[in-house]
């Protein structure tokens, strides 16, 4: 066995256990022994690294909005078909707790966003219908503007609009029972930003080249993402 064969063995089988022929070569080859020792110390050091910290939801949402705006990532063409009822029944049995289920939805959205950004490819997404059908989301408080959002969006903002529409019932659901003036204010501002988005979308449909409106729409999506994130954070603190 030659040195290059050792590299091949390591690639295919990892550090241990090494085959007999490889061990025989190592007994005679100092370079390969050093190479194995380096790799072993690297693996040991990697195991000692602290666990990765999960950034807050808004980071991913803002990042994706920015990447889409700059055309670095693309909009998906398809939406995943609606999930069968039996699948949901098993999930709902597993998550009887409302808060746990809500948190799970949040994690799924973030995970989807992470996967999309890393792969630079789109993944099948959960449609708003699915969210509503599964019942994971809490009582839906969509405004008329928000309901019209998805069909009106086009091109570069499609993905952002869909993701935000998915997150919206989760976020509003988390503070839906609250009578606090703060939550009323958050809901009121969500309504305002949804209406503004719908207005910009309508205008862009008629004037697709209007850059100023596009800028406002992009900023409005950013604000909506931050607002939903704030609602979720607040929901967690009061529930």
């Amino acid at each position: 066995m030659q040195c290059k064969d050792i590299e091949l063995v390591l690639e295919q089988e990892g550090l241990e256990p090494l085959p007999e022929q490889a061990r025989a070569h190592l007994a005679e080859c100092r370079d390969c022994r050093n190479y194995i020792a380096d790799l072993t110390s690297l693996v040991d050091a990697a195991k000692k690294l602290p666990a990765e910290i999960t950034p807050p939801d808004r980071i991913w949402i803002s990042l994706r909005a920015q990447l889409e705006e700059e055309g670095i990532i693309r909009t998906p063409a398809d939406i995943t078909p609606v999930v069968q009822g039996s699948w949901w029944q098993s999930i709902s049995a597993f998550f009887p707790n409302r808060v746990l289920a809500t948190a799970m939805v949040g994690i799924l959205i973030v995970a989807a966003a992470v996967f999309q950004i890393r792969s630079d490819r789109t993944v099948p997404v959960v449609s708003p219908d699915r969210t509503a059908k599964t019942g994971i989301s809490l009582p839906v408080a969509k405004t008329a503007a928000a309901e019209q959002l998805v069909p009106q969006t086009s091109g570069e903002f499609d993905r952002t609009a869909r993701d935000l529409s998915e997150q919206e019932p989760v976020a509003t659901g988390m503070i839906v029972a609250s009578r606090s003036p703060i939550d009323a204010s958050l809901r009121d501002n969500l309504k305002k930003v949804n209406e503004f988005i719908a207005e910009c979308e309508r205008h862009l449909k008629e004037q697709p080249q209007d850059e100023l409106t596009r800028e406002y729409l992009s900023a409005a999506y950013q604000q909506k993402a931050e607002l939903l994130s704030a609602m979720i954070e607040r929901g967690r603190s009061i529930n």
Partner: protein
């Protein structure tokens, strides 16, 4: 720290009581003076003073309802006074070096909003950095020099005679900035922004449905951007100002009430508005500062101050 009423049996001799109570009180005072401090109780008031050696950083997170007021003094100390309406809120106050952390937390999440009121009043050295976050209630900062980030959901933010890099983010709260200097970033969904008598050399204002008023001088070489989605953007300048102006709206109107002061761009650059927008370009004076105003569907009003 929770302070409890101590019950003393009157039959117990005084000397014994003194011997027993004094050490307890001393220990209590010692613990109270150590940080972090925590306060809870009906209508309770807590006051703490922290000595600092350099330029302090004050971080406040008030998740309860209430006002945060920050004023300055000449002392190298940070004084914190917290008041609360019920025992359903707790204060945590901590000093780490020159950083002072103040957190008002809700102890009973289901409590009535009237019981969740916590006001904070701080007195800080003039040069202090601030990071304040509240949900509702006014944030008021006066005569503080230092970078500051102020965040609120529903509360307004009033700043008077502050300078530094000022970042204000609200959801529905409005900003009133009087005699501010330095750099200002404001973003909001429904909040208004009023900038009065400023000495700001870099301004970024963005609100979705709120109004913007800038009444004051444009610093030479300053950069000013003011955007409102649906609201009014009004700028009042003086005849001695010097700036290039670019005003654009998609579906709104540009109301130029200072046409006699606005000249065509004097720097040889010919601006043409997009065919999708209503635009106005011009120069006042030498055009030293740069002013960009825009609105999606609101009105942009340009006028000269008397």
């Amino acid at each position: 720290m929770c302070l409890r009423m101590m019950q003393i049996n009157p039959a117990v001799p005084v000397s014994w009581a003194k011997r027993s109570i004094l050490p307890v009180l001393s220990a209590g005072l010692f613990l109270w003076s150590a940080t972090p401090a925590r306060a809870a109780g009906t209508g309770q008031r807590i006051e703490k003073q922290f000595s600092i050696t350099g330029r302090p950083v004050v971080v406040i997170h008030n998740v309860a309802n209430g006002r945060i007021e920050v004023k300055s003094w000449k002392n190298s100390e940070v004084n914190v006074v917290g008041t609360q309406t019920s025992n359903k809120i707790g204060f945590e106050i901590e000093q780490v070096g020159d950083r002072i952390d103040v957190t008002a937390t809700i102890l009973e999440p289901g409590a009535d909003s009237l019981d969740l009121q916590a006001n904070l009043q701080l007195t800080v050295p003039e040069e202090t950095e601030l990071q304040l976050k509240t949900e509702t209630g006014l944030i008021y900062v006066e005569q503080v020099m230092g970078d500051m980030k102020l965040e609120s959901y529903a509360g307004d933010v009033h700043l008077k005679e502050v300078s530094g890099y000022i970042i204000v983010k609200t959801t529905g709260g409005s900003l009133v900035c009087t005699q501010c200097a330095g750099k200002l970033d404001f973003s909001s969904i429904g909040g208004n922004a009023q900038i009065l008598q400023p000495q700001l050399n870099n301004v970024n204002l963005m609100t979705t449905t709120g109004n913007i008023l800038f009444d004051g001088d444009f610093v030479r070489t300053g950069l000013y951007s003011m955007k409102s989605g649906k609201g009014l953007v009004e700028v009042r300048f003086s005849s001695t100002d010097s700036f290039d102006l670019k005003a654009q709206t998609a579906t709104g109107i540009v109301d130029n009430q200072a046409a006699s002061f606005l000249k065509p761009d004097s720097h040889g650059v010919k601006h043409i508005a997009s065919k999708f927008t209503h635009g106005l370009f011009g120069t006042v004076g030498m055009g030293l500062a740069k002013v960009e105003l825009s609105s999606y569907s609101g009105t942009i009003r340009i006028m000269k101050r008397d």
